[in-house]
């Protein structure tokens, strides 16, 4: 079955402050959606709310993945159902090696009695690390500890490749990446594009979209999607910035929930 991801009227608050004011979005398998927008408009909140970060309270709306109610699920259940969020600021965890972590994650999805063999796992991990031009020693390094910004982002993509999710959310995966790393990360994403996998790419720069061509581009302001279009919308935003959108919609302050 091809993936169907549906967000309807999603509202979310942090510490009582409403950030998402009703998001509607449908993503089908094979589609790449990009969400663009200036800082402080609620883009990352959308990513966190979808993944189930405990700080973000969903106050209204629904999210389903292939008909299943995502909002009813715990964070780990969402992941096992096929949701993946490449985080803007991945945690560093001392004492847990990258390999141990990834094997636990893969086995959590496969379930008890169906664990991946160590040899098969190592072979897969090595293969994907090579594709991402990662130093093999990162396999046995503590998770993200002492990784540079770019290395952390590559490590997020590595996890995505090994976990083979149905719906991938990339939250500012391009921030802090030099052009080579950006290319490698984009190639990793492109290699994962398939009919049964949807992508939601959050970014405030268009440059990532030079490498990953989106099918749909959405502009977020004030906690809502205020404009949607095709790849040409991203090009126009790159060329002209966001002011014309604000002007068109009569928006003065595009941010949301800022003190």
């Amino acid at each position: 079955m091809s993936t169907q991801f549906e967000i309807q009227g999603l509202k979310s608050s942090i510490e009582g402050k409403e950030i998402l004011k009703g998001i509607d979005l449908q993503i089908k398998g094979g589609e790449v959606h990009a969400i663009m927008g200036p800082n402080g408009t609620g883009k990352s909140t959308l990513a966190s709310a979808l993944m189930g970060h405990p700080k973000y309270e969903v106050t209204d709306g629904s999210v389903t993945l292939n008909g299943e109610d995502v909002l009813e699920m715990g964070v780990d259940e969402r992941a096992r159902a096929g949701l993946f969020l490449a985080m803007q600021y991945p945690s560093e965890i001392t004492g847990v090696t990258n390999a141990d972590f990834l094997r636990s994650a893969i086995n959590a999805r496969r379930g008890e009695g169906n664990e991946i063999s160590l040899i098969k796992f190592v072979r897969q991990m090595e293969g994907k690390m090579k594709e991402l031009e990662m130093n093999p020693e990162f396999m046995h390094r503590y998770l993200n500890e002492g990784f540079s910004g770019g290395e952390k982002k590559r490590n997020e993509i590595l996890q995505m490749m090994l976990l083979e999710p149905k719906l991938v959310i990339l939250d500012e995966i391009d921030s802090g990446l030099d052009i080579d790393a950006l290319r490698i990360v984009a190639e990793g994403v492109n290699a994962m594009r398939s009919e049964d996998r949807g992508f939601l790419i959050i970014t405030h720069y268009q440059r990532l979209l030079n490498y990953i061509t989106p099918d749909f581009v959405h502009v977020m302001m004030q906690g809502r999607i205020v404009k949607s279009g095709g790849p040409e919308l991203a090009h126009r935003l790159e060329a002209e910035g966001y002011d014309w959108v604000k002007e068109e919609l009569g928006i003065v302050d595009e941010t949301v929930g800022q003190a």
Binding site: H53, P54, A79, I93, G95, S104
Partner: protein
Amino acid sequence: MSTPTTSFGREAAAAISRSKNEPAWLVASREEAGQLATEINLPKPEKLPLTRWTLDQYGTNRPGQNVSSISDLPAVITALLPEQSGGALIVQHNSSVVFTQLSEELKAQGVILTSLEDAARNHEELFRKYFMTDYAKEEHKLAAVHAALWNGGVFLYVPRNVVIDAPIQALLFADDAEATFMPHVLVVAETNSRFSFVEQVASNLGETSATLLHNSAVEVFAKAGSFVQYAAVHQLDASAIDISYRRAVLDNDARIEWIIGDLHNGNSITDTKSVLKGNGSTSDSKIISIGTGSQRMSLTTQAVHFGRSTESDMITRAVMKEEATAIINGITKIEKGATKANGQQTEKVLMLSPKARGDANPILLIDEDDVKAGHAASVGQVNADQVYYLMSRGISRKEAERLIIHGFLDPVVSEIPLEGLREQLHRILERKLG
């Protein structure tokens, strides 16, 4: 069999010494310590009153059965031996050393590995030169009792320039709660020698109303340019008390690495101290502990800098569960004249229960200007962002927390120089962390 010694002094100490046919000077030395034990006070660990501790049951002499091959050791002991290769090994069972193994090759190089009791008789000069010179019987009552009653024990002597690849193992084991169990480990590393020593202290006491008092001491003398790695894993029954004073004295450019798992299940006082006497000497201490039940622990690391350009690093990591208490002290002392010294310390406590207590007390005592010193201490719970991150990859909350807690201790566990012991340590952690 007599009842465990509860009153104790000069006479008792002398009687014990004579029963072992010890030389007159050693009888006198024990006698003197026995006298001292009646006169001086218990140590006063920071924020940890010892009032309800049973520290006056010294047990009686219960020697184990001597054996001539590993296979003749009791099964409870062989089960604890991580690697049963032909490597250097010494085993104490209750009040005496029952087995020693040292390859002919190492013997030919002049390496000595014997019980300390044997060393007092057969290597008198070395024994008298070093024994209780850094851990002095005058320090407090427990030290005096130890000096009077120590038994079995380990003497390891590694001559100049000798490098030993395989770790030397000591297993100190008790299964009789009424035994006197007070091993003393004395290690002499001559100039430019290099080796690892792995000590395991364990017990299997079963149901008992007696309190086993493991009143032990370690003294390491690291001569110029030597490198000693000292790993220890302690896992005694909850009814036992673990008293472990560890000392290292370092000459010029010597280095010691302490890798310690203070994983005892009952009350304990441990104090791991490096004295950086020689210029350019370095010390690295890594200690982990897990508090469970209602156990009380005082865990101290110390570095005392005398030499110039000396460096010390001390890390203690403790996981506290249930109603356990740990007072963790780190003391970096830099003496006048120890220019360019660098002393760093970190104490980290992970609290898994609201009723547990973990205090981290970093103390810097600096009497010299031209030095570097630093400390970091933290007491906290499992980091919620880390749990979220792991869960976002499909890992359950329980497994995420397990990974984080084990990971918290891994920087020490992964340094244990003996694979078999490392695996054993993992099993202890699984059990204690439950």
